[in-house]
């Protein structure tokens, strides 16, 4: 009799130590599962994929998957990924990054990669804090919330990662949560298929640091919160400002076509080749 196998095992690096390093209930593992399922569903081989990351809890993800992987410098994943994509335009390059990694130290790389519309898929695991280094506030820590560096509450306004990416020129922008895994998988799949810069913000739970500092309860409680607050984008647009409150939209926010960078580059290179009759 056949025993059900988890599809994810096909893509996990079993030489690595499991259980993985993430804390109990941390959303990073859920996102990894969704990425793997999306890859499996698209029928990609392990070698068709490159996963690139910087530094952070979320950025440890490439360690565990059997794709081509690069675990690079804090904030610089997009620079490395751009290099990979330029050399191997046929490869599906996926960047996994944290909110600090992508919007604080790596903010500049993010906006310029978006501006170029280079065909990368960026998955931002937004847990509203610097998890790995013990809980410093990040550009997405909500105003008023606590972090080790904001012991009296954060006075900074927050970055909306999706709006930032859209403004910078990203051609596929989506937001979902770790609770909405089925949606996450389908959005990640569409992001992989999109030709151009695609970014998926996944609202995630860091129950051990952010959750504890802000009394958000355990992992299931933080995920119930996502369930209540994340509203499908169509319904969200109909809400009045009072109804919006602390809710946020989920779903595909932007999906447009623009010239893609590696394609433009190839075109340019082709046009510069010596033509017949050139002296």
């Amino acid at each position: 009799m056949k025993i059900p196998q988890k599809r994810v095992h096909k893509f996990l690096r079993h030489g690595k130590k499991f259980p993985h390093v993430w804390c109990p209930g941390c959303s990073n593992g859920i996102v990894l599962g969704a990425i793997i399922r999306a890859v499996d569903e698209l029928g990609y081989e392990k070698d068709d994929m490159a996963m690139v990351s910087g530094i952070g809890c979320s950025s440890r993800m490439p360690v565990y998957v059997d794709f081509n992987t690069l675990h690079t410098l804090h904030g610089r994943a997009l620079a490395y990924a751009t290099g990979v994509k330029m050399v191997k335009p046929e490869m599906n390059v996926c960047v996994v990054t944290g909110d600090g990694d992508s919007t604080a130290i790596g903010g500049n790389h993010l906006i310029h990669a978006a501006r170029r519309n280079i065909d990368l898929t960026v998955i931002v695991i937004n847990n509203n804090i610097y998890g790995m280094t013990g809980g410093q506030y990040s550009p997405t820590t909500p105003t008023g919330d606590f972090a080790t560096t904001t012991p009296y509450g954060n006075i900074d306004p927050v970055f909306d990662i999706c709006k930032l990416a859209e403004g910078a020129g990203a051609t596929f922008v989506a937001r979902t949560t770790a609770y909405h895994v089925v949606e996450a998988q389908s959005i990640i799949k569409q992001a992989f298929e999109h030709k151009g810069f695609s970014i998926v913000e996944i609202v995630s739970a860091c129950p051990v640091i952010y959750g504890k500092l802000n009394k958000k309860g355990d992992a299931p409680a933080m995920m119930r919160d996502m369930k209540e607050r994340a509203i499908p984008v169509k319904a969200f647009e109909k809400l009045t400002p009072e109804q919006v409150g602390n809710k946020y939209s989920r779903g595909i926010l932007v999906n447009i076509k623009k010239p893609e960078y590696t394609a433009e580059y190839t075109k340019l290179m082709d046009s510069l080749q010596p033509q017949k009759g050139d002296k």
Binding site: Q5, G29, P220
Partner: protein, 99 residues
């Protein structure tokens, strides 16, 4: 590391017995249809971190927590193989997939 585990999980190729000592997984003995009915959900306790997510979000109440927080299949007949526990488990430690 017993061969049983290798056989049961062809997705999990265990080569180096020493380095993967930690990867040993506890698996229910399933030989017959009856066994499967008794336990349609597999929990790999060695990977489980007792976060409680699977129990919380199982839509049918097939799962429950022991006092120490580890999940178990309380009502196997209720499982509808929605795979939600499977997808939501951050540790790849449970599968509710249909066989």
């Amino acid at each position: 590391m017993s061969d049983k585990i290798e056989k049961h999980r062809d997705g999990m190729i265990i080569k180096d017995k020493n380095s993967t000592a930690k990867m040993e997984v506890e698996i229910n003995e399933v030989k017959t249809e009856g066994d499967y009915k008794k336990c349609p959900v597999y929990i790999y306790h060695d990977w489980c971190k007792k976060c409680g997510i699977c129990v919380e979000f199982c839509p049918t109440g097939a799962l429950a927590s022991k006092p120490d927080g580890s999940p178990y299949v309380k009502a196997p007949e209720k499982c509808i193989h929605c795979e939600l526990c499977d997808r939501l488990c951050p540790d790849f430690a449970i599968t509710g997939a249909k066989r």
